[in-house]
């Protein structure tokens, strides 16, 4: 399944987007690590959907606009993006920071979203349960703590980014994540009180061994969101879409088709 790469100019900011497949429009919002590559689960989903994978402003090969100061700025940007792309309604899959972004968008314009899939999402805080300190971890700890399956971590550690461009993109991603999520760390204290507005079907997906976003966050969101169900994976870390690519894709496909 081929993905087409294009650049989109919006609000004085040029972003890179990959788009592939046909069917209902599904917007994938990436997390802190960006979306430099098309991943196997994306290829899988593009068999049934029109999958849009933009790189957020401040990430990867997208611009870093001056106006980008917090997650709400990013939410308004993507609401404008939907309008610009003439997408009246979409399904959204958001991973981690991208899940938080999806919720910030959905409380503002709930009618545009047919469903949300939130994977190990950030955005809310369970009192006294902290996310992993991604800014204190060394690059190696970061990779190891992302996955339950250390074979995946080993493989990633064995092939670090080599080109200056890739290394710059990593520093850029990290900078933007700090800008958006350093404090309050990976959540918005004012988000939880508006979650009742997210009245579309929501699938929460979590690895039970997630060391970045504690599974307790998923359990809390399952209570706070009116139409949410939580699915967890044993022996799985922060990125089920990578560690359990085929199961993940099948579950998401079924959920979106039924939503």
């Amino acid at each position: 399944m081929g993905f087409e790469e294009s650049y989109i100019q919006l609000n004085g900011c040029r972003i890179r987007m990959r788009r592939g497949g046909k069917g209902q429009a599904v917007l994938y919002l990436h997390g802190a690590n960006g979306a430099m590559q098309v991943q196997p689960f994306m290829n899988e989903l593009a068999k049934d959907f029109d999958l849009l994978v933009p790189e957020h402003p401040g990430f990867g090969y997208s611009d870093e606009p001056d106006w980008l100061e917090n997650i709400q700025d990013l939410a308004y940007f993507y609401l404008d993006f939907l309008k610009e792309q003439k997408l009246d309604t979409v399904h959204v899959i958001g991973s981690s920071l991208g899940g938080w972004l999806a919720m910030e968008m959905a409380i503002r314009e709930p009618s545009r979203f047919k469903s949300l899939v939130l994977v190990g999402t950030a955005g809310v805080r369970v009192p006294n349960i902290l996310p992993g300190d991604i800014f204190l971890w060394s690059p190696e700890q970061m990779v190891r703590n992302t996955f339950f399956d250390q074979a995946i971590a080993e493989k990633m550690l064995a092939t670090p980014p080599t080109t200056a461009e890739e290394q710059d993109a990593q520093l850029k991603n990290r900078h933007t994540v700090a800008k958006l999520a350093w404090q309050p760390r990976l959540f918005d204290p004012f988000l939880a009180k508006w979650l009742h507005r997210i009245d579309m079907p929501v699938k929460l997906i979590w690895g039970e061994n997630d060391k970045i976003m504690p599974p307790a966050v998923g359990r809390m969101l399952a209570e706070l969101l009116p139409q949410a169900s939580l699915q967890t994976y044993e022996n799985c870390g922060h990125l089920p879409q990578v560690e359990r690519a085929s199961e993940f894709s099948a579950v998401v496909k079924k959920f979106i088709e039924e939503a």
């Binding site: 800014f135 204190l136 520093l171 900078h175 350093w182």
Partner: protein, 388 residues
């Protein structure tokens, strides 16, 4: 040259053996390792040492700010400066500095510095810093807006000191409808402002700007690095179209004097190496959170990362000019050479470091004051410690 005793007030009583398993003494070293009874003695000992500096003829005393660390016990240097304001009569009192972005409201810095200036009858030197990377982890302040907050807090403080109140201040981070400082500072237009730094280009550009001409202090670094950054300040000033005065430059350096070179090294070795290899050590991610420096600076530091984290012996540190250590004659000679090549008018002497005990600290101070200080004070090229 103005010679100032600069005290870091490290926790010399730390159990260095028991805390060996911790990667760093910053941010998350459990505070059960701090003993307030020992701390009580230590604070009073350190304050005595600073007061002793006035007796010995130093031009000033200096304190600094660090948080949640055994490296230094002054989360508020202003508390120390106010104690010193009452117990000294002549010396300048330098706060090097207050970490502006870490404060929720910069008006409190303007007020507290003004208080010390008034109590001391105009002896305050105000230092402004951003706080080090580790402190953005402890305080949760966003490092990506650190420069922004620093500049805006600075503007508010200087206006509060100099503009007749009440007036209003509107910014991105701070908005105050009634700026009307009581008390106003004693010195006119305001206390001198010094900027200690490890040499970031952004800081040098900002401090040397003709609107400010703030005294730039290079903190604990190899002599070659000090020379490079002081020269960079002079070059930047020249690019701005003026010649930087020597009084705009300073260097903070550990110094240890004993009877002979060998004895000095023997006495200082353990304490200095604890300072350099334990108290200063922290993981890269703690030292440089994203946005604290520009990404270009970050990449440069990453390239030199291996060298930064290496342990150093005192012998190597002496060779590199990170500490000046030896007989009175050697120390004087070394400092004269450095002064001749760098022409800094302010020398911040760190005569206590690491776990250096009281008797050695006082002897160091006395030997330095009797045998080195007078020669340094007579090296005059520019004006005094009054750059604004």
């Amino acid at each position: 040259m103005n010679v100032i005793l600069f005290h870091l007030m490290g926790y010399a009583d730390l159990d260095f053996e028991a805390t060996k398993q911790y990667e760093t003494v910053w941010v998350n070293l459990p505070n059960s390792f701090y003993d307030p009874v020992k701390g009580h003695k230590l604070y009073n000992r350190y304050l005595d040492e600073l007061e002793y500096a006035e007796e010995l003829g130093f031009d000033g005393v200096a304190v600094n700010e660090h948080h949640q660390t055994a490296y230094g016990l002054m989360p508020s240097p202003i508390v120390m400066a106010s104690a010193l304001a009452r117990r000294t009569k002549r010396v300048k009192i330098a706060i090097l500095g207050s970490a502006l972005p870490l404060r929720e409201h910069p008006m409190t810095v303007a007020e507290e510095h003004a208080m010390v200036d008034v109590i001391s009858g105009g002896r305050l030197i105000s230092g402004f810093v951003r706080g080090i990377g580790a402190e953005y982890h402890t305080f949760g302040i966003n490092p990506t807006i650190s420069h922004d907050r620093f500049h805006e807090a600075h503007d508010l403080i200087v206006q509060a000191w100099t503009k007749p109140g009440p007036f209003s201040f509107s910014g991105r981070h701070y908005n105050v409808d009634y700026v009307n400082l009581w008390p106003r500072p004693y010195q006119t237009p305001h206390p001198p402002i010094w900027v200690p730094s490890q040499g970031s280009k952004e800081t040098i550009d900002w401090a040397s700007h003709p609107d400010r001409r703030y005294t730039y202090l290079q903190t604990f670094s190899p002599a070659k690095t000090v020379e490079k950054y002081l020269q960079s300040y002079r070059d930047t000033a020249a690019d701005y179209g003026y010649e930087a005065a020597d009084s705009q430059l300073g260097w903070a350096v550990p110094i240890y004097v004993s009877d002979t070179d060998r004895q000095a090294i023997r006495e200082a070795k353990h304490h200095f190496e604890l300072f350099r290899n334990r108290l200063l050590k922290m993981p890269f991610e703690m030292l440089l959170p994203p946005g604290y420096t520009s990404r270009d600076s970050l990449k440069r530091v990453m390239a030199a990362k291996a060298m930064l984290s290496q342990d150093l012996t005192i012998e190597t540190a002496i060779e590199m000019g990170m500490i000046i250590c030896g007989s009175p004659e050697s120390v004087r000679q070394r400092l004269e050479e450095y002064w001749k090549s760098m022409r800094f008018d302010n020398l911040l002497t760190m005569l206590h470091f690491g776990s250096l005990p009281e008797d050695l600290t006082r002897r160091n101070m006395k030997l330095f004051a009797e045998n080195v200080l007078p020669a340094l004070q007579s090296m005059k090229a520019g004006s005094g410690a009054t750059a604004t």
